[in-house]
Subunit: 225 residues, 2 copies
């Protein structure tokens, strides 16, 4: 029996509970996260679908302080540019302020993250079977990343999905020793949370659902009657 | 209490069970799938993270036979090219044969699919906050798509992720009446399955996990001792 099959393990969390309480947790404790737990997260990540079931992903588990420091530098470089834009947005959306504080906290403490996972895609950018390019390419890694985030949530771990340390694919490749045909796609810093998981809020789904053709808001009336 | 909070609803399926039994199901019954169930799937889909929590997705729920027929045509066009490549691959990987049969079945019966969901991204291709381009762009839709697929699995629905009907973004936009700033990213045909959900197999995770730098197979020995 593998840990994921243990009926009393964290993985028994109901699907809907994991999904409705998943949130970006950027403030993490420096307490260690066991390799066995990390491997379980990755085992569930790799159950996700990929184009033609190629499973052409690679996951770099970063624990070496030197590698973390390089990723932290890349992250801060991207954030120093992005935060100027983000600050301008605070004027129109006050909720951004809390998000900016959390991203800043993560940038300042990136080196203390117990484990950072970098999800990568191996091989050609274009799938040979399904010639739709970027969508089918990234569609082969982000379902796995989402499984990883949901599994982390079920385990009580804090995690977030960011691409900031990857602003330069070349520098990220050098940092992680990636061959030219392996592309880093997502960075997931993981640790025990300082904050809380808790229900998230979203716009009513009816606002983003259309029937048959864009603009056909067929689902609105029945829910407003 | 919303349906997702019902303790005895399909959404109580343990997270790990949903993940380890999720598989592409292409052979679907023509039996109807209720709007309420579809909306619940989409409600869980939209709990996924998106860059800056923009939630800049749109979901087109396709039920109109005319729109389904157009998507079916686009799908068959892509498949007629892709299947020649796929058939060549059968020689090196016999498991592809069953997959090809299933894709062919779906192409032949696409019009009978009870409901087809097209997941789209609204707005600029580049996030303004995180200037990493394609990865952060597609990273804002495929986590939602994966939530949708996991929720469908928990509900006992068959579903699969494909990008074939999107081989021409222009033709897909015209079919769905999408504005120029809305990009279709994934197509998910959904229905009650003819086949079975069941445990999937994957390569051992240790084969795709590296420690700190690519090629450092630190996790292999401990599991082989």
């Amino acid at each position: 029996m593998t840990p994921t099959e243990e009926p009393d393990g964290p993985w028994k969390m109901p699907l809907a509970e994991a999904m409705t309480t998943q949130r970006a947790i950027r403030r993490l404790l420096a307490d260690p996260v066991d390799d066995d737990l990390v491997l379980e997260l990755l085992r569930l990540a790799t159950r996700a679908p990929s184009a033609e079931n190629h499973q052409n992903w690679d996951f770099i588990v970063v624990r070496d302080p030197a590698v973390k420091h390089q990723l932290a530098r890349l992250n801060r470089q991207a954030w120093s540019v992005a935060k100027r834009i983000a600050r301008r947005k605070v004027r129109s959306d006050w909720r951004m302020e809390g998000v900016i504080d959390a991203i800043q906290w993560q940038a300042d403490h990136f080196e203390e993250t117990p484990v950072v996972i970098v999800a990568c895609l191996r091989g050609m950018r274009l799938s040979r079977l399904v010639r739709v390019g970027a969508a089918s390419y990234y569609g082969s890694i982000f379902p796995a990343v989402q499984n990883l985030l949901l599994a982390a949530r079920a385990a009580g771990l804090g995690a977030t999905l960011t691409t900031m340390p990857l602003w330069s694919t070349g520098l990220a490749r050098r940092t992680l020793g990636l061959p030219a045909d392996v592309t880093p796609c997502a960075v997931i810093p993981i640790g025990w949370p300082r904050g809380h998981h808790g229900p998230t809020t979203r716009r009513p789904v009816e606002e983003v659902v259309h029937l048959d053709r864009y603009g056909e808001r067929a689902f609105l009336p029945r829910h407003h009657h």
